[in-house]
Amino acid sequence: MKRVLIFAVAALSSAPLAAQRTDVAAQLNGRVPAGVIQAAQVLADSAVLAGVPVSPLVQKALEGAAKNIPADRVIAALQTLFSREVTALGALRQGGVTSPDAAGVEGASFAMGAGLSASDVTTIARAGGTVYAASTTMRVAGTLAAVGVPAAGTVRLVSAALAAGVAPGDLGTFPGSVESAVARGMTPAQAAEGLARATQARNGVPPGQGRPGPRPKGS
């Protein structure tokens, strides 16, 4: 039921939130019922005001149409998604990320959709310190949760890695490592704990050896 994943940095849009289009009808016409378009438009306007990304709402509306979900359930899902984005934004700010970009909020929202709580998001955000890439870290966290690592284990693994100086871009191999361990018979929780310990041990290396910071470009 699981696939080994390789994961690096998410190259998502880093567009400032204020500059996003709010005209969702153009993207949804012809694919989504009118009632859903109206609801999506209202939520999109609210999203801009709240400072959260609009495109996940558009995507969710399209998804609902593709799956033939009744309009009222799609609208309910959109409302849930919107409020989750707002919560995610707040959680990131609580964790010290003063102006998260669209990708960061999307990532945190994805992580919460995968089972992490707002305070989990805050804890992970805080562990990032000054070198912090909200989007990547949150996507890795969400993917770990999707792979089956319980929320507490996910928070522990990601926070421990960040605290040990692992660059967010290098967190990407974690879900794959957990899956390999699960395929060999460990539970996701055990695999995550083992990986956390190994990461800490590896990064207890004296300065000058091992990776000191962000991976150089072009490698």
């Binding site: 699981k2 995507q59 593709a66 799956k67 033939n68 959709g113 990547t136 999707a146 060999r184």
Partner: protein
Amino acid sequence: MTKIEEHPLEKDEAFVRLLSTLDRSEVRLSDDLDRRVMAEVRRRAAAREARRGWRWWVAPRDVRLVIRPWMVGAGLAAAAGIVAIVARPQSGNLPASVAQRAESVFVRFELYAPDARSVSLAGSFNRWNAGATPLVRRDGSGLWTVTVPLPPGTAQYGFMVDGQRWVPDPAAPSVDDGFGRRNSVIAVPGEGRTL
């Protein structure tokens, strides 16, 4: 309603008496049948994941190619040839910018569904357009596949079978989709770019 003619035996007294002696009591199988089945089921699920993971890691005949400018420019003819062939964009399913973006990664999706009449891929990378990315059935088998270029990052997806049945990828991790079903999650590798 077709009627099956009665056979003379059904009226034979002796036979009817014999019939009534047939033991019709319920048969109960042993208690640990459940445990044995689930042990094997878990083993197979894990083995299946390991096999798929292995397939991801083994590069040689894999169609998972990373397109990087330096690779094409370096004149690796075979690689460039493969890239050129596979790079033909699927009709109308992806914005052109994605297909041409240098860091797109080709990912092959597969679903084993021998009784399906059609299978298509819908996800965040093709705007959940269930008609746009059909899978193709491999001759003589029940395996449906398609290869698409994906931008780096996380995406959610699933398979639409026969236009109406949503099937998440049995081989991938999944998340709740907000509609009471599941979406599969895939993380696509890409060039490092710190934010």
